[in-house]
Subunit: 245 residues, 2 copies
DNA sequence: CAACATTAGTAAACACCGTTTACCCAGCTG
DNA sequence: CAGCTGGGTAAACGGTGTTTACTAATGTTG
């Protein structure tokens, strides 16, 4: 007999459909429209039935966050599959562009996963922060790590890194090394020195910052897309560490 | 007799208290907790009574946004009053630091006003975007304008500004000039050239971006504050245009 | 196979929500 | 004084998350 019973298969199927409908509602009508009754209505059951699958609406939303991250990560992975392994910098850029494109195309999902005030979702959405452990962070760190293992970066000297950040940067570095190791990327601690980790933090701040600004429409420009500035930012950061000239 | 009748005075008073209570709920228990019934309960009336003051919860929230902006602007103005008029750059830094400090101290309010997906509040919160017309934008642009009118900036050359942005930057410049004029600051169009406006946009993107990242806790650092990086960013941007060495 | 246990679903209820309606009554105005 | 205006009320409607008790179907076991 199969390992999974008929019941288990059905359960997994409806569980999948629940989150799928929840996401559809989120995308089409915003966060507030993701209602247990609305979800239940769409799959022809009643709201309390959903409690057989999730402890509460909060828990359901958290799982939806996971799905969202997984989906975005899948899209990014597909983008990456089109690029040669050797083009390490191109792959970093691809991930950054993919993140931006995804965020602009899915503003409600971005807001839910990446821009909710901390305790708004019970706890951290998708256990993402801190440090970045979600699937996006995973991909981002992986492609970045590949650059580190193949290029010598002109990163800031240790004495230029603010002392107040040293301890936390070292913690971050350990998480980074662990993530890279689990993805089969070996990076020596000499390569991943304090300045390099610091630069990665700077990179992420700039990346996240511009994307958030665009998603939330806080640009003072009325019509134009900020894509040119995004591209320039990428080039600027890459140039800063000598990856572009 | 006074211009305002007794009734009008009472009305204005409860109106004020409504928004005050709404803000208290927002701060203490998050956006979802700002319910009409909770507000009414706190001032000892019933929920439908609120409809004598606001058309709907949406409209009330919008007004609350205005209050929030006004309050922050007031705080910034107070900070500025401690600084000499001549220290134009110091005043810009003070506004940036004040914005960051306020945002970190009021994450729910920041999320509501500065990071809600576009149509989440019926329309734009506080008519703020685009272009930046809210009270914060006003102050920010004013102190920045004062720098422009007293310093020669080494801003990007016109050919270094992405062509796709030219039209929108010119629109933004007009709004900027109007704002500055209405605050008694005369800046010639030669000074406020395309490169300068472009730099201001870059400045705002960086500023908003890091603040949003900090408020939403998306830093991969577990405990340390990113204040040192904020300070470095300010110095970096100022150095870029020759305001610091 | 029969008996039992587990489980996905239900209906009903509770407390809360935004909003509308009809009504009341104090205070101002002619 | 009569009448209007406007801030308040209670009641109701349909919606929400969640709990409870129950049913019926599935899976397991003697």
């Amino acid at each position: 007999m199969a390992d999974i019973t008929r019941r288990e298969r059905l359960r997994a199927e409806t569980e999948r459909e629940i989150r799928q409908r929840a996401r559809a509602l989120l995308i089409e009508h915003g966060r507030e429209a993701v209602t247990l009754r609305a979800i239940a209505r769409e799959l022809g059951i009643t709201a309390p039935a959903l409690y057989r699958y999730y402890d509460s609406r909060e828990h359901l939303l958290r799982q939806v966050c996971d799905d969202i991250c997984a989906d975005m990560a899948e899209g990014l992975a597909k983008d990456l599959s089109q690029l040669p392994e050797e083009d390490t910098l191109g792959r970093v850029f691809a991930v950054c562009r993919g993140f931006r494109r995804w965020a602009l195309a899915h503003p409600e999902e971005f807001a839910l996963v990446f821009a909710s005030p901390k305790p708004a979702l019970g706890f951290n959405p998708c256990d993402a922060v801190p440090p970045i452990r979600d699937q996006f962070g995973n991909i981002f760190m992986t492609v970045a790590g590949r650059v580190l293992s193949t290029h010598k970066l002109a990163t800031p000297a240790e004495q230029d890194v603010p002392k107040e950040l040293h301890d936390d940067l070292l913690v971050f570095r350990d998480a980074l090394l662990e993530t890279l190791a689990s993805n089969g990327i070996a990076v020596s601690t000499e390569v991943l020195d304090l300045g390099t980790v610091y630069f990665m933090l700077r990179f992420w701040i700039r990346l996240y910052g511009q994307v958030a600004l665009e998603v939330f429409g806080r640009s003072p420009l009325t019509t134009a897309s900020l894509e040119p500035m995004f591209e320039l930012m990428l080039r600027e950061l890459a140039t800063e560490v000598g990856l572009l000239t």
